[in-house]
């Protein structure tokens, strides 16, 4: 791990001061968590982001099953959470597509425009259509419920939110700290002027 903060690495600080805004790194950070940092030369940070974000997303799927990633869920919290999971990257979209295509089906008893749904315990999926289960048949998956579902959704949502922070850092890292450092150098001057005004040493007519 050789990545250092600019304050401790003057050469790195100079690089950051000239780059400013890096849209390619931002896009890469969305495509694969950590890739934006990795390509920008901050490899240790990229690996950390990748392990953390993908570990959380994978952990959420392992705990709550694929039903925690559902953009068309009948549960509002899960449906809204997908907008946060979107920031994990294409992997979240692929998981959602697989979920909709392979584990949900059309209910022939409902109107044709009705959304697809999961098969209930006494039903099964047959070529994307839900029908009553015969002997030895059942739904292709068990839906997660209760705390396990909530924690699974939480894992995947936090993964998305953390990668959102990482995307912003990949987009705007360079120069940001340098500018902040320049501002902090100016700060004492401003405060000294203010102090002199407060103490009455600012000059002017009296």
């Amino acid at each position: 791990m050789t990545d250092q903060h600019p304050k401790e690495n003057p050469a790195h600080d100079a690089d950051r001061a000239t780059a400013g805004f890096d849209p390619a790194a931002g896009v890469l950070a969305w495509v694969l968590p950590g890739l934006g940092h990795f390509v920008a030369g901050r490899k240790a940070r990229g690996v950390g982001v990748c392990v953390g974000v993908l570990g959380l997303f994978l952990g959420g799927l392992l705990i709550g099953g694929i039903t925690v990633v559902d953009s068309r869920s009948d549960r509002t919290e899960t449906r809204l959470s997908f907008y946060g999971m979107f920031f994990v990257g294409p992997v979240a979209i692929v998981v959602d597509r697989v979920h909709q295509a392979a584990f949900k089906g059309v209910d022939p008893m409902r109107p044709s425009h009705a959304p697809t749904r999961h098969a209930l315990p006494h039903e099964t999926l047959d070529n994307g259509t839900i029908r009553s289960a015969g002997p030895g048949e059942g739904p292709p998956i068990r839906r997660s419920v209760g705390k396990v579902n909530e924690i699974g959704v939480l894992y995947c949502l936090i993964a998305g939110m953390l990668n959102f922070i990482a995307i912003l850092d990949a987009l705007l890292p360079p120069g940001r700290s340098a500018r902040r450092g320049a501002k902090s150098k100016d700060a004492p001057k401003r405060s000294s002027v203010l102090d002199s005004v407060r103490t009455g040493d600012a000059g002017g007519e009296q």
Binding site: M1, Q4, V51, L62, I63, G65, V148, I151, Y155
Partner: protein, 92 residues
């Protein structure tokens, strides 16, 4: 007694990434990896000196866990002690 005997109730008919784990009673244990992985990702972005990264990850994970324990104790006291004091209800 082998490992399967212990894990059996939790992983019965379990297909990884598709089916949920049967951890309804042990759900609070899942907060530990949640805190750790959150700290791993967050500190990768925010830490100043990557030489201190592992230490900062452990410190942040501990802070998250202690914060959640403190919140849980606070809510427990509020619900179990303060509310019955403020609005006592007769027990049947």
């Amino acid at each position: 007694m082998n490992l399967a005997t212990y894990l059996g109730p939790f992983v019965a008919a379990y297909t990884p990434l598709v089916d949920p784990l049967n951890l309804h009673r042990q759900w609070y244990l899942l907060l530990v990896p949640l805190a750790l992985l959150t700290a791993v990702a967050y500190k990768a972005v925010r830490t100043r000196d990557m030489r201190r990264y592992p230490v900062e990850v452990l410190v942040m994970a501990a802070q998250i866990l202690l914060g959640m324990i403190a919140l849980a104790l606070g809510f427990l006291l509020f619900v179990e002690v303060l509310i019955p004091l403020l609005a006592p209800t007769p027990r049947v």
